[in-house]
Symmetry: C2
Subunit: 311 residues, 2 copies
């Protein structure tokens, strides 16, 4: 098949492209390099099954030209603002890069009769649900970040476009995803700062913020597994790992891997890292487990593996 | 207080303005006259407490100028595409008129430090839930129309903006609303067609489509009651009536009021009126009832009252 990967030069998108090409598919990638990088897709330059367009998905007319030109079978939509902290002071970033990109892709699918979609959603659609394992069908959706709000809006669009046009749509709500090519987030940030100053590390909040971290190889494995034989309608899953890792534990794992001893941690205090951040978070994964898929690495293992890969 | 009513020249918005002025508030109205009409606000022209701006809410910069100029205390947001059938073939209408209008108002509130919001949401956020009384916190949100999708996206934005900026937001999910100044929908349509041809009436679907119809005076009463003393955070209610009226019953009530006998109904057949229409629908109203509010007129009574008012 010919797959369009939107946001394909990004961290997760570029790994997905590797997996799709590995399986013998053709890939058309669209990216703006706002968050994605040339480096992530450099190794694909001479691959005859890979084609790249540098273009903003906010430009409906130009995106539609690509749909008209390429004979797309399946859209993998991973284009979004992925830096929640950045949009906290400028919600327009989410309006454009997370919501509008989704609307435009769906509209191009509708007009050009493309029926299959994978969408990268997020745990942020749930909002702050401390003490609860959030599940796909019984947890209230109350996003507290502009990012989570735009992703929930995107899911709503997918619900209507899928019904109105008989799409087959797979939606995964991602947890924190880590691994090679990571460009931001707590691991990336700690490694960078410890390289500059191996004596001490400032940690946002009280360090007890606890989230599930999933390795990107596990995530791509899940996407590939459930994309094959996708059914008409919307299929929605939480995807992730059952365990969580605290921010302090991440710092410990990094220090151990970098052979740093007696690093002095200083905490800024308070609950979350910033307003809109969800400090404690756990997934109910019954649905995806019952459908025969499980992550290979726990949260701590994914963190340790990533640290080895990126230091 | 000074209230901004977005979409104030529309059917519901103009009734809300009448009620706000009646209570002694000042009103700033923004409308484009795409669906709203000059006629709906004609009677307010010389009212010193009423001010009108003809402007699209899609124009963020111009809307922001109004926020800078007027000292707004409370935003009542009723601007949207309200013609679901029209957007079924052109989803961009919802992207612009339902979602973008909401984003822009919220962004102006954030930047100009306006904290109070009323938002007109819809039963369409639930999607098709036959055999179930949809309730605010236990029913899956799976919109099947672009309209419902854009409104759910707007609710998601309100969730995040409210959290991030300490807004006090009241969200009502409206059923079908009817009454004087109605400009489209089944009652308006049947009356118009029966005036043209009193012998026969073509009815979309099989006539058994059944929905709760609420009189606009009841709705405005509910908005006014819950807007006073609104609390920080999002307060969400289904608002409506417990009963439903079938499409055939609406035709009967209209014929009776118009003194038409032996009108021949012919049915186009099938379930809904058009794709994206939800044919059977019932609300769980426990939450709003427990909070001390109930509609005065049943669904059938609201239909009969409206027919008297509009024929």
């Amino acid at each position: 098949m010919k797959a369009l990967v939107a946001g394909g030069a990004g961290f997760i998108g570029s790994h997905l492209i590797d997996a799709l090409l590995e399986k013998g598919h053709q890939v058309v990638c669209i990216d703006t390099f706002v968050i994605g990088t040339r480096k992530n897709i450099e190794h694909l330059r001479d691959n005859p099954d890979f084609k790249f367009y540098e273009l903003s998905l906010c430009n409906l007319e130009e995106v539609n030209k690509i749909f008209e030109k390429e004979d797309i079978d399946f859209v993998f939509h991973l284009a979004a603002n992925s830096d929640i902290q950045a949009s906290a002071s400028n919600p327009s970033i989410e309006y454009a890069n997370t919501y509008t990109t989704t609307f435009n892709l769906l509209e191009c699918m509708r007009v050009n009769n493309v029926k299959k979609l994978f969408f990268a959603s997020t745990s942020a659609v749930y909002g702050e649900k401390e003490g609860e394992q959030v599940s796909e069908y019984s947890t209230q959706l109350e996003p507290i970040s502009y990012y989570g709000a735009a992703k929930l809006g995107a899911e709503a669009l997918i619900s209507a476009f899928t019904y109105m046009n008989s799409f087959s749509s797979l939606v995964f709500r991602f947890p924190n995803v880590i691994g090679p090519r990571l460009t931001h987030g707590v691991i990336f940030d700690f490694v960078k700062r410890l390289k500059q100053n191996p004596e001490g590390l400032t940690i946002l909040g009280d360090g007890s913020q606890s989230k599930p971290y999933m390795h990107v190889y596990d995530l791509v494995d899940g996407i590939m597994k459930f994309s094959i034989g996708i059914k008409e309608g919307v299929t929605l899953y939480n995807i992730g790992v059952e365990t969580q890792t605290t921010v302090t534990k991440i710092a410990d794992i990094i220090c151990e891997n970098m052979n740093l001893k007696n690093v002095k941690y200083s905490y800024t205090g308070g609950r979350g890292g910033w307003k809109g951040d969800v400090p404690v978070f756990a997934y109910n994964l019954d649905k995806i487990h019952e459908n025969g898929w499980k992550a290979r690495w726990t949260s701590d293992e994914a963190v340790a593996k990533t640290v080895e890969e990126v230091i």
